[in-house]
């Protein structure tokens, strides 16, 4: 009998393990993988909430798509190219443009969502990338025409561009914006614990049971994480890398992050990861603020981070050398002994 009792207790314990109140849903939106984890809600409610968030993501994707016919952004871009005739713009899109303009100014225009024509020229406004014939003349001409966010005028629910070469591409903004929207919605619905991941940009609500949400940071050249960290309540994490969207031509890698100063893909960096403390726009910042750091030259990266108000960041340069800010270093855990194993990897403090 005691043996039977023991079995029952064990079975109950095992049951307890398998019924962790964690709901996970996955989908493909924004041309990437979207993962939603909700902890501590009943499964039907968690499913309903996650479905709502996924639908909202799909709506944003359809509205903010940079090259699909019929999206709000495509229609606006077509109007910008036509000349200075104001066209109606939704309050949401107007607010996004104004916010993106502020962030673009703050980044000394290294974050520049107005260079859609350059991104298109490099073949990155497609679902899949293949090497393009580099049209140096067209690139130089576009850089000279200086498409900038400040060229857009928004008034009385309409928008126009003083510069016809402005073509919006919110690839470095929309996913972060969607994170903020989702986090706000879930909080408003009373959800205490959730983790939302849109194509690698992640925001945390609460924690995973009795411990913080744990996030792995992808190794830019290997499958699996290079480091891990706890993502506390309200924090967001974002990475700009040269390994998700790129093509190779004559042995050289061209990634999707274009330096607006040269019109060419930024070189010299494999990845920049940043952590953003709780704020209403933490998700947006986690998407936007890694770009100026990625694009800046090696000597200017710390300054670019400062400009964007980022104190937690990690840079992996073209040689695989890792640089971390002092604050970030305290948060990172290295899951394997990568330091001695990969002799080219060095960990260095940034000023």
């Amino acid at each position: 009998m005691p043996m039977n009792l023991l079995l029952v207790v064990f079975t109950l314990l095992l049951n307890g393990c398998s019924h962790e109140p964690l709901y996970q849903s996955q989908s493909y939106v924004f041309g990437t993988l979207v993962d939603i984890s909700i902890y501590g809600e009943s499964e039907p409610r968690a499913r309903e909430l996650a479905n709502h968030v996924q639908q909202e993501f799909q709506r944003l994707h359809d509205s903010l798509h940079a090259w699909k016919e019929g999206s709000d952004l495509t229609r606006l871009n077509a109007a910008f190219a036509q000349g200075e005739t104001p066209v109606p713009v939704s309050p949401e899109l107007a607010q996004i443009i104004q916010d993106a303009t502020t962030l673009s100014t703050r980044s000394n225009e290294l974050f520049n969502p107005a260079i859609g024509n350059l991104i298109k020229l490099w073949g990155f406004q497609r679902d899949e990338y293949s090497p393009v014939n580099i049209d140096a003349d067209a690139i130089n001409a576009l850089v000279k025409q200086a498409p900038r966010m400040s060229g857009i005028v928004i008034e009385h629910g309409t928008a126009y561009s003083k510069n016809p070469t402005v073509r919006l591409d919110l690839g470095g903004y929309a996913k972060g914006y969607a994170l903020d929207k989702a986090a706000a919605y879930l909080r408003q619905q009373g959800v205490k614990n959730a983790l939302i991941n849109i194509g690698g940009n992640i925001i945390a609500l609460g924690q995973h049971g009795d411990h913080p949400w744990r996030v792995g940071i992808q190794h830019p050249r290997q499958p699996g994480p290079i480091a891990m960290l706890d993502l506390p309540d309200g924090w967001a994490i974002g990475t700009s890398g040269d390994y998700q969207r790129y093509f190779e031509l004559d042995g050289k890698r061209y990634c999707h992050i274009i330096d607006p100063r040269t019109g060419y893909p930024a070189q010299g960096t494999q990845a920049v990861t940043i952590l953003v403390p709780p704020a209403a726009n933490a998700g947006t910042l986690s998407d936007v603020a890694s770009k100026p750091i990625f694009i800046s030259n090696a000597g200017d990266k710390a300054q670019a981070a400062q400009m964007m108000g980022i104190t937690n960041y990690m840079v992996i340069d073209a040689q695989g050398k890792i640089f971390v800010s002092a604050e970030m270093r305290r948060r990172l855990q290295w899951p394997e002994k990568i330091m001695p194993k990969e002799k080219h990897v060095r960990l260095e403090n940034l000023p």
Binding site: S130, G199, Q218, E336
Partner: protein, 127 residues
């Protein structure tokens, strides 16, 4: 048999054998101990878990995605994308996955592989 009862002092040659043994153990530890070995492979297809399979088998799977057929192979405790209809072949270039928490994703064909260990070392991956 009486000779076995006393333990003679090790000779220099014994020390060499013992040292070599210890050195071998240390070397094996350094070369083979690469984090937790994975036990299972989780395959996701679109928004659903397609299968969670033991890595302790030899198996080839063909999974259908929006672009067509993706072939995945499980071999000697490892798994990988072998062929994919996507243009860039990033997923195939990822090569073999062998350790827990390793991930390979094919975004165009919406199929992902994840190796699971005894316990998940993180909740989500930043990339």
């Amino acid at each position: 048999m009486s000779g076995w009862k006393t333990c003679p002092k090790p000779l220099p040659g014994d020390w060499i054998v013992i040292s070599a043994g210890l050195l071998l153990v240390v070397m094996l530890f350094l070369t083979l101990w690469h984090g937790e070995h994975a036990a299972k492979l989780r395959i996701r297809q679109g928004d659903t878990i397609y299968a969670t399979l033991s890595l302790d088998q030899e198996r080839t799977l063909d999974i259908h995605g929006p672009l067509g057929n993706t072939r995945i192979v499980i071999h000697q405790g490892r798994a990988r994308f072998v062929s994919s209809p996507c243009r860039n072949q990033y997923c195939v270039h990822q090569g073999w996955l062998s350790r827990a928490s390793q991930v390979a994703i094919c975004l165009p064909n919406q199929i992902s592989l994840e190796l699971l260990g005894a316990k998940k070392s993180y909740d989500s991956l930043n990339y």
